[in-house]
Amino acid sequence: MRPILLSGHERALTQIKYNRDGDLIFSVSKDQQICVWFAHNGERLGTYHGHVGAIWTVDVDPTSTIIASGSADNTIRLWDIKTGKNLKTWEFPTAVKRVEFNEDGTRLLGVTEKRMGHLGTIVVLDITVDVDAEQNDEKALTIVCDESKATVAGWSYLSKYIIAGHEDGSISQYDGKTGDLIYNIPIHELNMAITDLQWSPDRTYFITASKDKTSKLITAHDLEVLKTYVADTPLNSATITTKKDFVVLGGGQAAMDVTRTSARQGKFEARFYHKIFEDEIGRVRGHFGPLNTVAADPTGKGYASGGEDGYVRVHQFDKGYFDFMYEVERERQNRLG
């Protein structure tokens, strides 16, 4: 399984997203570029120009029509995928760390940074998924995080809840319509920030990654921890694969915490765990800096990782991956088949 190395960014990657068909990869980086690539050959389709700060986050709507991006230039921007046109810009008082469309692409949430006297917030914008439509200027909803700032957030199934991960290691569940706080549960170790939150395909459960070196699988409805994956390094990202029951974790000692910069010490590997049995299955090496983001192809054919080293590595799974099965899984498959 030889990965495709996408070397279009000049600085650390911050987020990677596949579109729903799994044929396009969107990547954002601190070099103020949004790139879109063909997933099957790594050819760059284009870039989106306009941001004037490090870009922290990107998301694509379910119909692959528009993308949203959030940046340290305190804006959320909406882009036409096809033409690269900047359709709309919303301004905020602080940097935007995370954006995410809900399941039908009609709403967009943004997580803003806590800085310069401004509290961290989660804002919700109404979106019309149409490149020609006039977008609404006003925020539909603002949730203020006065306890501990939100670092990541996402929409559950039916856009019923907004789930946010906080800097203090807790997870909050807000009502998707009113923005009322329903629960706030300490999930990860206290004051170990939650660094990523990604959804299962049907958005009924999600996976978190945390600096406390663990990743957890949690239900959206009652925030019950289903599984815990223990790694030996602080984690920056976690994703759930489809077709096969795995999760992929990425992380590594942050550059400032490493006394000696050896690849061995940094543990800059993507780690595969079995989603149900919580066992570590394997690791994929390659990056020479911490992995900042991992994303799984929604069609289950591969995954991509983006590192502090500025590279995106796109991997297509090979036969061994699809053949691998626990004895109990095989047993079940034989019974069904």
């Binding site: 119909t63 399941e103 039908d104 009924t204 000696r260 010490q265 626990y326 079940r332």
Partner: protein
Amino acid sequence: MAPSFDTLRDEDLDEDDFDEEEVDISDLREKYEVQLEQGYDTFVVVDGLPPVTEELKPKLIKFLLKKLNSVGRTKEENIFMPMGEDGTSQRFAFVEYSSAAEAAAAVRQLDGVPLDKKNTLRVNKMTDIDRYGREGRISDEYHPPQIPPFEPSKHLRSFMADPTGRGRDQFVLFRGENVGVFWNNEKDQPENIVDRPGWTETFVQWSPFGTYLTSVHAQGVQLWGGPDWERKKRFAHPFVNLVAFSPNEKYLVTWSNRPISIPDEGHPALTLDDDGKNYVIWDIETSKPLRSFAQLDTLGAPDENGVKKPIKAAWPAFKWSADDKYVARLNPGQSISVYELPRMNLLDKTVIKLDGVVDFDWAPATSQREGVKTYEQLFCFWTPEIGSNPARVGLMSIPSKEIVRSLNLFSVTDAKLHWQSDAAYLCVKVDRHSKSKKSQATTLEIFRVKEKGVPVEVVDTIKDTVINFAWEPKGDRFVTITTTEPVGPTAVPPKTSVAFFCPEKMKGNAIGNFKHLRTLDKKNSNAIYWSPKGRFVVVATVHNQQSSDLDFFDLDFEGEKPESDKDMTANLQLMSTADHYGVTDIEWDPSGRFVATWASAWKHSMENGYHIYDFKGEALREEPIEKFKQFAWRPRPATLLSKEEQKTIRKNLREYSRIFEVEDAERVNSADVAVVEDRRRILQEWLAWRESVEADVAEERAELGLPIDPIAELLKAKTAELGPDEEEKIIEEIMEEVLEETEEIVT
């Protein structure tokens, strides 16, 4: 309405209702009464005097004064001896000393001292007599002290019986603030026996036979043991830093770099005599101190400014003979003091003067020299060249203090003493310099202690500096590590060579000359760890940033022996090489079956945790643990089986191992079955949960009138929108593949 001042009536003032005087606080007063200085602190009461008449009284007082003045200062007029009505003295006297300290000294030193054959002095403080002698303070009736019924304590060696019958060994793990003891389960998660947070403050240590686990606290040392891990002993040495046991677990030495300071109110275990001391030697059985010692402040050689800096105290400062009968301490450059146990008196009341003595070491086993029938313990020592006198290595027999063997050496820079575990050999590693002092070389002077006259063999084939040396336990082979460059504070440690030595084959039971077997060059290794049973050895690189190899060697390899080694008593084979990044310590388990290696957070904070290998070097288990500090196998006492019984076991080993192998296989199988069962359950739970969630979500969607797959609908809409504008194109791609190529020659 509360009464205001204007309307205040006399009744409202409750002054009359409450009289402080009436409250009976005598019980409290008694309980909390402060002992004030009563001015009588300089007085003592001397009892046990003979009755005397008025005429004989001055004579008695004079006689008494001699005794009294031995501890302090008092005068004739300060002694008051009351006379009875019958004209004779009442057999006691009041004495005033010039200070309270002297009075206290008199109580401590004169109480119980015989005055003459018939009479014994009883000396008490006057204040004490007043306090305890007052009526009602002490009950007149005698109550026998309560002696609790004897309770047998639990067996301290119960750990030898593995409940699973597999003869597993235990180990202790100290990580973070927690200390836990575990059974070694080879590849599987070790089985926890006990785990306690904050069990120790600095480190843990096993006693030499594994009976006790030592914990170290600011207040002193505690020993824990038995099946319930109760506290068995306490040794209150404040601010203790280090602990050492005698080889047979009878005595304990504790050391603190802070001199002991006994507080005014006293100390539970130590007395004023221990004030200012650094070392305490304790009897473990009674947990009482035997004797304490102050640190010897020895000054090293003067540096460039001519200032002599104190040498760091060597540990262990007190070294024990193999049978716990003697303990000795070096006074560097001057002498060795040997003390006899259990009285802790200096042997023959004198130190052993040895001019310039640098180091000494007891034989680790009670030696049996040929032709020597009397009991003896041996120690070796060495003295450097002083003036024109040569350097000398000596072997001294205790208690006779006779020098059994001595060896003169020249051009010696340093010497290290290495005993073989049975005290059969003593290897003195001598670093010699050339006349110009520019180049260095090492020779090994090997004393054959058990042979008649203690012959010395010299191994001088070594050109380089030997940085490490280790005897095979219970054997006669050894490993050295040499380096061409001097070891210094360089960034990259120099390359080293590992050399194996063994005796030549001889007829009969004789042991041949030590010969070089093999050298492995261009290594990084710096440490040697022999299996406690001999034969296997791990040569490792520890405390090294760049490499961390572990080489597992077998010296009695059962395969083919190279022709060149046919006269040797060893067949060397590298079995396996492992790598444990950042390894700081290595230890064999007491049975010689497993090797534990660990990276301790005390040394660095990278990848702390431990690994367990089997003796062949096959990695069994890796466990990274944050803030992992210490690993220690629990030692075992010596076997109780006789030589013959051990021989029988060895003979029938095949049969035993067959049984064990069957047991092992069964255990693995049943464990596998359990794991599979567990996974089946987990998978079932997961599928059931998914089913219920999917049903719930579908129901909710139906209620809200939303499509089951919202995105499919959106995509359909999008395609419909695009549909009329764009014609559907069919792209046909034709692939050709060559399946087979054949060439035929047509004639």
